[in-house]
């Protein structure tokens, strides 16, 4: 937001950028092709274009056109059925230029080695993830997001593993490993172990989530650092976005990670040669793989690079939260089926429970329609919003989303007009449905993206368990809103900044919050991230059901 929130200024800048797109943002394609060819690679290019659903203000792009350049080093020792990828994204200016240099250097070096049994693909992608998406879709002949790209003319074998490089300077103090991919997917833990082992061997400082490992586990500060690292990982994983260029490889069942060079004020520096040796070692190890990495863990959280928490340890925590919901559902069920003290009004009972179906169906349908509105409206109505209000497209999208979200809160009063009678039985049945719905939803989410499921469970389970029409209205309404998905996201933004040791003021935090929402929506449209539709179409309607129960007549 910030800089470009004045619509006129922003529009002028976008026009300028679109017109000047090629000259300014161009990657030196010809030079790259020539250089790669000179190093003896088979070089191919792929051009792609993509119009974003609305302008991305963080990266200042709207209509994206670019070219990927990749060179294949054919395996000299074996049939070319498998491949490894080394990628570096190339952007205008000096950003990441060292990575491309190192990549070319490695290509030249690997060309002279004879021990490679897998094709090596050196990929320089433009416009970071968008280029990567185009290349991967071209490589695997899929098209999931409706992007335009030209087909690839050269292919290697099936890709077994990939590494992405991010280097901004020719010396670094430490290397950071980024694992979190699209939808919170993680690569096989052995890839992280491999990186750690080589860092140890070459005595390079290595970090995860930007945090150095400490050896004093038993001290309070060491423990708290490990907890902070793990919580950072949980937050990043829960966001469901790819945190490096490797993030999209995971979708194709390719183990991948990003290695990021960090240059801080520390004295002892590591030069590019050492990083090159590290990468050579990793690639030779990966080259020796006889089958895909599958023996080790895929479900893990890392408090430091050398330790991990396996699914067996963290899933029970989620299980205990989910059990609350199941017990509550059982309790409601018992209340519902236990017949009232035996008397002659059995017929009346049956008559009472009959309208129950309708009085549940209406809130269910209405809350889901609100969810659909939350999913569809923001992007559909951005043009209209921009015409009528002095906001930019991105702001329009985010503010419409917030408006629809808030408008959903007014719904219970509407549904009651139509539902015939809000009986005691009625809300119990609705709550039973809602509690089971939430339990299944959280269970499925936690299996796919544990962190997201866990954070949602932490905030939603308490309200789901206690809310009834008979609790004090104002206080519980406040608690319900406080623990709703949108507020959870707001707190997560502050908490994340806090963990990164970059606390922000409320003002900045709010702006960050808005940009996080727009990034989430963009991630969905660009890469197919599932967090936004999950929240809009399932979690939010489920939360509305509890809101509805609170205001049951």
């Amino acid at each position: 937001m910030g800089l470009l929130s004045d619509p006129n200024r922003r529009r002028a800048l976008i026009n300028l950028l679109t017109r000047l797109n090629a000259p300014i943002c161009g990657m030196p394609v010809d030079w790259l092709v020539k250089t790669m060819q000179a190093r003896g690679l088979e070089v191919f290019t792929q051009s792609f274009s993509r119009t974003l659903p609305f302008p991305d203000e963080n990266k200042e792009r709207y209509m994206v056109k670019g070219t990927n350049v990749y060179g294949i080093l054919r395996a000299p020792r074996a049939p070319r059925t498998e491949a490894l990828v080394l990628s570096a994204s190339c952007s205008p200016g000096d950003e990441n230029n060292q990575a491309v240099g190192l990549l070319l250097g490695l290509a030249q070096y690997f060309r002279n080695q004879i021990y490679f049994a897998k094709d090596l693909i050196f990929l320089v992608n433009e416009h970071d993830l968008i280029g990567m998406q185009a290349w991967l879709e071209g490589y695997h002949h899929t098209n999931t997001t409706g992007m335009d790209w030209t087909p690839l003319h050269g292919r290697g074998g099936s890709i077994q593993a990939a590494l992405s490089l991010e280097l901004n300077s020719h010396v670094v103090t430490s290397l950071d490993l980024v694992l979190e991919g699209l939808n919170g997917q993680l690569p096989n833990l052995d890839l992280a172990n491999l990186f750690y082992a080589f860092c140890q061997k070459l005595s390079v400082l290595c970090t995860i989530e930007g945090k150095l490992q400490r050896n004093d586990w038993d001290s309070v500060s060491g423990y708290s650092q490990a907890v902070q690292t793990m919580m950072l990982m949980v937050m990043k994983q829960a966001s469901g976005r790819p945190w490096g260029d490797h993030g999209l490889f995971l979708r194709y069942h390719i183990e991948a990670a990003t290695i990021k060079g960090i240059n801080s004020f520390r004295q002892d520096k590591t030069d590019a040669t050492t990083i090159g040796r590290l990468l050579e070692g990793m690639y030779r190890k990966l080259n020796n793989l006889l089958e895909r990495l599958h023996q080790s863990y895929f479900f893990y959280l890392m408090p430091s690079l050398s330790n991990f928490v396996s699914i067996g340890y963290y899933m029970p925590a989620f299980g205990l939260l989910a059990v609350i919901l199941l017990l509550r559902a059982l309790d409601l069920w018992v209340q519902l089926v236990t017949p009232p003290p035996r008397n002659e009004e059995r017929v009346n009972d049956i008559a009472q429970s009959c309208p129950g179906v309708l009085s549940i169906l209406i809130p269910l349908v209405i809350s889901h329609l609100t969810g659909v509105a939350l999913y569809m409206l923001p992007v559909r109505f951005q043009e209209m919003a921009v015409e009528h209000f002095p906001v930019s497209e991105t702001e329009a999208v985010v503010l419409t989303a917030i408006a629809v979200y808030t408008a959903g809160l007014a719904l219970p009063h509407n549904t009651h007009r139509y539902s015939s009678e809000g009986t005691e039985q009625g809300w119990r049945v609705l709550k039973l449905v809602a509690v089971l719905y939430l339990a299944v939803l959280l269970g499925c989410t936690a299996l796919i993206n544990f962190s997201l499921g866990f954070i949602l469970a932490l905030t939603l389970v308490p309200v789901a368990a206690f809310v009834t029409p008979h609790v004090p209205k104002v206080l519980s309404a406040f608690a319900l809103v406080f623990l709703s998905p949108a507020c959870t996201l707001l707190f997560s933004v502050f908490f994340y900044q806090e963990l990164q040791e970059m606390p922000v003021s409320f003002q900045d935090g709010w702006i960050l919050y808005l940009s996080v929402i727009s990034q989430g929506i963009l991630d969905h449209y660009l890469y197919g991230s599932l967090v936004y539709p999950l929240i809009a179409l399932l979690v939010y309607p489920c939360w509305l059901l509890f809101w509805n129960i609170l205001f049951w007549k």
């Binding site: 997917q185 979708r251 895929f298 479900f299 199941l326 559902a329 299996l447 796919i448």
Partner: protein, 478 residues
């Protein structure tokens, strides 16, 4: 003393009858004329039409959406036997003049491929029609069945066969009125049915044939029942076990007791089996003449029985046979396949007076233990649940079972995603959910079985059972 008691009992039962007639709005013999009988039908026609329209709309909407391709690739919805892709493949081979059974792709029966040879352009309409036929047949069958149940109950009441404290177990026409509609609704709006219809799984056609069989059996038509049963058997082999309930029902319908010394019992059995065998022979020979070879026998029935395709599905076979050493295969194949057929004998003995419940039990056992089950098979027996609403007070773990069924059917796609696409889980995860799903189905069916038997027991011995010493007795299913 003795005569007095009897008289007192009669007086009581008369009073009871009066109360029952008044309370339950019995159609007394006097008021049973044509107009009264016709009235409910016209009342039900509107909701039924509405239901059909709704079902068709939902299906048509899904047929026109992008979800169609996604659904027709789901392993839960289509099996190697019923997949539409394979039917198309078979059709293409047939058009090229090659036997569709050459290669290992097509496993449907010849009649189905010839059916689609003519209607392949209207496939979607055919599948929707099949669903509507199934629902319509179930509707009429259940309606007829309910009438009979009611008549029997009335005779039993008049003959004073029910204990006095069982009044609350007696079913009233009011609660039974909507059951046929609910059955049709459970079938047509069940997500399982909708999915298999949208996936164009030929399971819909099999369900339609089985529904026609049920209808003709309940109407007491010997010939049609045998013909449709032979068609169903021809389609997927397992409905063979429905011979037992069909025979029991038809015997009951013609008031012939199950007595092995009675000639008319044997006469009816022989008649039915002859018709069944004859029409099966005709259908099989017809298939032979259509294709000119016996290829289809090994390719369809051999495929069903020997389970060579271990694509994951919601059944119990694939994982087990994928893990097994080759030299045990035949033995366990027999064990697994006998499972489907074996339960026929004890169930027929136990439920010989209740053939329709036996049909329900058999359908559920088929859909749990068959070699390539899909959710469409489960949908057929699940649609019978409204018929047994009067058993709800005796069900013990219906809540647990419905939670399990709900959770496992939603977890199927999630774990499939984790295994196949994300690569982070493996086949054990998916099989675990398969097990949960099947255990839930088994629990559901056995729970209904228990409840049914218990209600029958109460109808004979009274609702509030006392031990000999006067304390309250508990009932155990043995």
């Amino acid at each position: 003393m003795q005569p007095h008691t009897v008289k007192h009992g009669q007086f009581c039962s008369l009073k009871v009858h009066f109360v029952v007639y008044k309370q339950l709005n019995f159609p007394t013999p006097l008021s049973r004329d044509g107009r009264r009988a016709a009235a409910p039908l016209s009342k039900m026609a509107a909701p039924l039409t509405l239901l059909f329209l709704l079902a068709v709309t939902v299906r048509a909407a899904l047929f026109n959406s992008s979800l169609k391709e996604l659904i027709s690739d789901r392993v839960e919805v289509v099996s190697p036997l019923t997949a539409w892709k394979r039917v198309i493949e078979g059709l293409a081979l047939l058009d090229l003049g090659v036997s569709p059974y050459s290669g290992d792709v097509f496993h449907e029966t010849p009649l189905v491929i010839y059916l689609f040879h003519f209607v392949v352009d209207y496939a979607e309409v055919t599948f929707m029609l099949a669903d509507l036929i199934t629902a319509g047949c179930l509707y009429m069958a259940v309606k007829d069945y309910n009438k009979q149940v009611f008549r029997k109950q009335k005779f039993a009441l008049e003959a004073d066969r029910y204990p006095l404290d069982c009044l609350e177990l007696i079913r009233s026409p009011k609660e039974m009125h909507y059951i046929p509609l609910k059955v049709a609704m459970f079938y047509l709006l069940n997500p399982f049915t909708i999915l298999s219809c949208v996936a164009r799984s030929t399971c819909c056609l099999n369900n339609a044939v089985i529904a026609l069989f049920i209808l003709s059996t309940i109407k007491g038509n010997l010939l049609l029942s045998a013909v449709f049963l032979s068609l169903a058997t021809y389609q997927c082999l397992y409905p063979l076990v429905l011979v037992a309930p069909a025979l029991l029902y038809l015997l009951q319908h013609q008031y012939i007791p199950v007595n092995f010394r009675r000639p008319n019992f044997w006469w009816l059995v022989a008649q039915y089996l002859f018709m069944f065998g004859g029409s099966l022979l005709v259908v099989v020979c017809l298939s032979f003449f259509l294709l000119g070879s016996w290829d289809f026998l090994s390719s369809v029935y051999g495929f069903i029985l020997s389970v060579p395709d271990l694509t994951p599905n919601i059944g119990l076979f694939w994982y087990f046979f994928a893990e097994m050493f080759e030299h045990f295969r035949l033995f366990f194949l027999c064990v697994f396949q006998i499972n489907v057929f074996f339960y026929t004998i004890p169930l027929s003995l136990k439920l010989k007076d209740h053939p329709v419940f036996l049909i329900f039990m058999q359908l559920s056992i088929i859909s749990i233990f068959k070699s390539y089950p899909t959710v469409g098979d489960s949908a057929l027996y699940l649609s019978f649940l409204p018929v047994w609403t009067h058993l709800h007070r005796f069900l013990r773990n219906i809540f647990l079972v419905s939670c399990l069924l709900l959770a496992s059917s939603l977890l199927f796609p999630v774990l499939w995603h984790l295994w196949i696409y994300a690569g982070s889980a493996n086949s054990n995860f998916y099989y675990a959910i398969t097990l949960v799903f099947n255990v839930a189905q088994i629990l559901l069916v056995s729970d209904y079985f228990y409840a049914f038997l218990r209600r029958e027991h109460h109808l004979t011995y009274g609702l509030y059972l006392k031990r000999k010493d006067g304390s309250e007795a508990a009932m155990v299913l043995k």
